[in-house]
Amino acid sequence: MTGYTEKIREIAARLLTEGKVDRVIGFRKGTVPMMNQPHYVTSPAMAGELIWDSHCGLNLANYVTDRKERIGIVAKGCDSRNLVTHIIENKIKRDQLVIIGVPCTGMVDRSKVCALVEGEITSVEESDDAITVSGNGFSKTIAKTDVLRENCAVCTHRNPVIHDEMVGEPVAEQTGVDAYASVKKVEALSPEEKWNYFEDLISTCIRCYACRNACPLCYCPTCFVDESRPQWVGKSQDPIDVRTFHLLRAYHCAGRCTDCGACETACPMGIKVREFTKKLNKDCFELYGWEAGLTLDKRPPLDVYKTDDPDDFIR
């Protein structure tokens, strides 16, 4: 993982010099530790601005929708699955893209790291499986597995599913993880407990829509939250409006969500917004055997009608 940065820079510079792409989308160092910014470079000289470490949690597929130029894009496993989804949904053409695949061992959850230390973190060093954070008067080394984002901890598609370039050898996929453990826990509750669980979950939501903006699937020209005729969801902090927003957001992602975790990474309040989409992912997997973004050759289950589609819910 540590050598990826040089490799990404080298590939980006080469693609731009050869004129194969007009720009390369990647990450650059953020102004705050552990917060990398999406960034694009347009000339070989700028390639040195790109970096890669364990804080590239946002999903770069978000930035290719409806682009007309040729794009090189740095993509970890989940980003590549979202690129597949984009290609299926005609948001970008495959031949416009040069995908720089990055085998990924998971991204770090910033809030988990911050919870482990007292005081402000001012610098971060990283080795293969640990990170060392330090600030004013303290320094601490933490194993990466302890602070992985929750979606990364249960990820089973760490290697890019499509790529034109690769920056390293594919990493071993995780086995034996239960991707839907959190969903099962909620499923076991009674309706009232469920209601309260979600009431509690979203009680801190400030309706900033960071989850929507970070999501590569959310590319509607006018989002339903901004529509006023008819107004589907109120713009207030009313718990019902907040819940309606989260439910509809989740439904829009049904059968498309790759569980990339960008929504949770972007949430300033640390809300586990994946709890909503995760349930639909589980349903899609159980009803249709579908996981989004794994292949270009199959239409998503909600796109097509098959005579053997489950229909128990219809009387």
Binding site: P191, W195, Y197, K279, R315
Partner: protein, 56 residues
Amino acid sequence: MKNLLEHTGIAPGRLHFSWISSAESTKFVDVVKKITEEVKALEPALNYAKTEPKVN
């Protein structure tokens, strides 16, 4: 696909789907009766209804 509603605790049995041909008026009446009975059996108070804010 509406499992999520029940998952988040919006009372199960409040969302129904059916398929009725335009010639099946008897089935229509049957289904209406059944659904009405089922919903009547539930509590009338529904936590999802939004109380409109008071305008002063």
